[in-house]
């Protein structure tokens, strides 16, 4: 196991290198020139050149890439070009709200989706099943944007059940006060497609021979569903969960913007808007690392769920 993890971590190096290369090319090619932002109203050629020199943008590209590599190795991305705050401090303050928001959406969404999907898979063919599937299909056809706009307008403003927006330093306050509405909307946006997908996973598992064996043993349907089917169906479920993570970031970005949550999604957009390359680099590298680590974790979870999985 340890050897496997070591090898997998070692295998991340080329991917990380690729990510760095992609990022570097993208943002040196198209990323915009930050000196024009920093110069403000003073756009004289000397001022611009001076800023570029200070940011190290006048160095040859290979040397800039080397610096980038050193930053990745030390995980020290220096300071933001636009606010001059240390990138690490910036990310540190952003990661908490992001994790709280996306984490709770993911957790609640997954638990609910699995529960509902298991129920309708058990009742497959019934009116409930068809109704839930139809509602889920219709619900997922509405743009996330509409949910957020309408949710904020009607639930928070007209209904007055939630604060319009905001975020506090106290986690408890956030959980009780500010989180519920974005959480609700985030879950609604993600729930419908998940239910549909998980239901199909469960139904497919129900067709397998071992379910017949379980029935032949005299097990009741709920036991079959919860004990035998659920664990087998977890493989595609875990896979889809992992695949949904990058998309979550985009969805969360809208939630963060509308509900004033100081998270990573908003930070990315702001950094790109300001051509704040150090922040972009740091966020991308951290997310790439997180994605890769999560992939590894997923494989290890596979192993826990399914003993057939071989970790090579």
């Amino acid at each position: 196991m340890l050897a496997y993890i070591v090898r997998r971590v070692w295998q991340m190096v080329p991917t990380l290198f690729g990510v760095m290369l992609l990022l570097f090319v993208l943002f040196n090619w198209v990323g915009g020139d930050p000196s024009y932002i920093l110069a403000g109203k003073n756009l004289s050629a000397e001022a611009l050149a001076g800023i570029r020199q200070q940011l190290g943008l006048d160095l040859p590209l290979p040397q800039q890439f080397l610096i980038f590599m050193r930053q990745v190795l030390t995980l020290d991305f220096g300071t933001s070009w636009s606010t001059q705050q240390p990138v690490s401090a910036l990310l540190h303050s952003r990661i908490g709200p992001s994790l709280l928001l996306t984490g709770s959406i993911l957790l609640l969404g997954t638990v609910l989706a699995i529960a509902i999907a298991a129920l309708v898979a058990y009742l497959r063919g019934s009116v409930t099943d068809r109704l839930v599937t139809l509602i889920a299909t219709c619900a997922m056809s509405v743009s996330a944007l509409v949910y957020i706009i309408a949710g904020q307008y009607w639930l928070a403003f007209k209904g007055g059940w939630f604060p319009i927006m905001g975020w506090s330093d106290s986690t408890l306050d956030n959980l009780l006060h500010y989180l519920p509405l974005p959480l609700l909307l985030g879950v609604i946006v993600g729930l419908a497609p998940d239910i549909r997908f998980y239901r199909s996973c469960f139904v497919e598992e129900l067709g397998h021979d071992y379910v017949r064996t379980a029935r032949a043993k005299g097990l009741s349907e709920p036991v079959i569903m919860l004990k035998h089917v659920l664990r087998n169906a977890m493989i595609p479920v875990v896979t889809s969960l992992m695949m949904s993570l990058p998309y979550l970031m985009m969805g969360a970005m809208l939630l963060e913007t509308f509900f004033g949550i100081p998270g990573m999604g908003k930070e990315v957009v702001m950094a790109v808007e300001r051509s704040d390359f150090p922040v972009i680099k740091a966020i991308t590298i951290y997310i790439a690392l997180a994605t890769m680590l999560f992939n590894l974790l997923t494989d290890i979870v596979y192993k826990l769920i399914d003993p057939r999985v071989q970790l090579h």
Partner: protein, 361 residues
């Protein structure tokens, strides 16, 4: 290159190819078939809009700004309409009042204007360019937007654009994903390693960043939206196709093709591809749905279509401001219209999956 058509004349007897069976199964599936009809209707509509048969005048300002839907004309919030003439008049009043107690200049005199003579002449010749103001409607079937454009016309034109964007994006993403996935899964080895490397790099970078970066390099407009969406959504297809080609290349019918001397290209695209085409079709309809929704968010972020075009996303992007003022009709119309298509597409994907599954005999 020899002529490769091997379809025998006997095929006219309509024997049951899998496609035909799938089609028949789909026809029998009531939900799936209705979904197909709805999607078909949208496509026809889109074709009509592209060809200019309907909604070609969606940019015309035919009603008063925010004219309500006819049915709700009484219940809609009142809109105080301002017009340019009043603004002008107010401005003129202010400047002339100031001119009374001012010693300063009041503007450019004709003698100081290099174009004075030409302008005077142009005034004389301008008659041919004068146009009369059209009467504006007080209400429209689905209401009007800020500039008094017919929401129904916008909706039709927007459907066409969104469908075009969704379908083109899905096709492009599918093509990229399929070709790369096929190469990767079929050949394996170093090529697979290389493509998998590219895949893992792409999936490790947040979509949002790729999106912003691609959008920055390729300008704005439909082409960009399609490109951006394709470049960020080919990975799913790649994964799927790689796995399928990996699976199928070991299948006996592919080995049989190898045995009879079919080359790699033929085995990949003549033999395997039709056998995974049902997955591609399902993937296509799912991607189209995803991309139509994606476009809405892109438009909101300012990466949408240009001003000479309208899409559902562009219309939804106007929704927050309108909703604040109580003008709900454009948002509702777009949401319903989009929901219907997306629901139909989703149901169609389900039905296609069932109908085309070769396992189900």
């Amino acid at each position: 290159m020899p002529h490769t058509s091997t379809t025998p004349p006997a095929a006219q007897h309509h024997h049951n190819s899998l496609t035909r069976i799938g089609w028949r199964r789909l026809r029998r599936d009531r939900i799936g078939f209705s979904a197909l009809c709805i999607v078909g209707a949208y496509l026809l509509l889109a074709l009509a809009a592209w060809s200019g048969l309907v909604a070609s005048h969606w940019q015309d300002e035919v009603a008063h700004p925010y004219a309500p839907p006819t049915l709700f004309a009484g219940a809609a919030p009142h809109h105080v309409e301002l017009n340019a003439a009043d603004i002008d008049a107010a401005d003129r009043r202010a400047t002339s009042a100031a001119a009374l107690d001012s010693s300063g200049a009041t503007g450019l005199s004709a003698s100081e204007d290099p174009l004075a003579a030409d302008l005077a002449a142009a005034q004389q010749q301008s008659a041919q360019y004068r146009s009369t103001e059209q009467a504006r409607a007080d209400s429209l079937p689905l209401g009007a937007d800020q500039r008094g454009r017919d929401v129904l016309q916008k909706l039709l034109q927007g459907s066409a654009t969104s469908l075009q964007v969704g379908i083109a994006g899905a096709l492009l993403a599918l093509t990229i994903g399929t070709v790369l996935g096929a190469l990767s899964g079929y050949f394996g080895g170093l090529l697979d390693d290389l493509l998998m490397w590219g895949y893992s790099v792409f999936t490790s970078v947040p979509d949002m960043l790729l999106l912003l970066a691609f959008a920055a390099v390729s300008g704005r407009g439909i082409g960009t939206v399609v490109l951006v969406m394709a470049f960020t959504s080919w990975t799913g297809t790649f994964r799927l196709m790689r796995a399928e080609f990996l699976k199928h290349k070991g299948r006996e019918y592919v080995r049989a093709a190898d045995a009879i001397g079919a080359g790699h290209g033929r085995r990949m695209f003549h033999h395997i591809l039709p056998n995974v085409s049902h997955l591609l079709l399902v993937q296509f309809s799912m991607l189209t749905v995803a991309l139509i929704k994606y476009e809405a968010i892109l438009s909101f972020l300012g990466f949408g279509v240009g001003v000479t075009q309208v899409s559902w996303g562009a219309m939804l992007a106007e929704a927050p401001a309108e909703l604040l003022q109580g003008y709900w009709w454009q948002m509702l119309a777009v949401t319903l219209c989009m929901s219907l298509l997306v629901t139909a597409f989703s149901l169609l994907s389900d039905s296609l999956r069932d109908a085309l599954d070769p396992k189900v005999k």
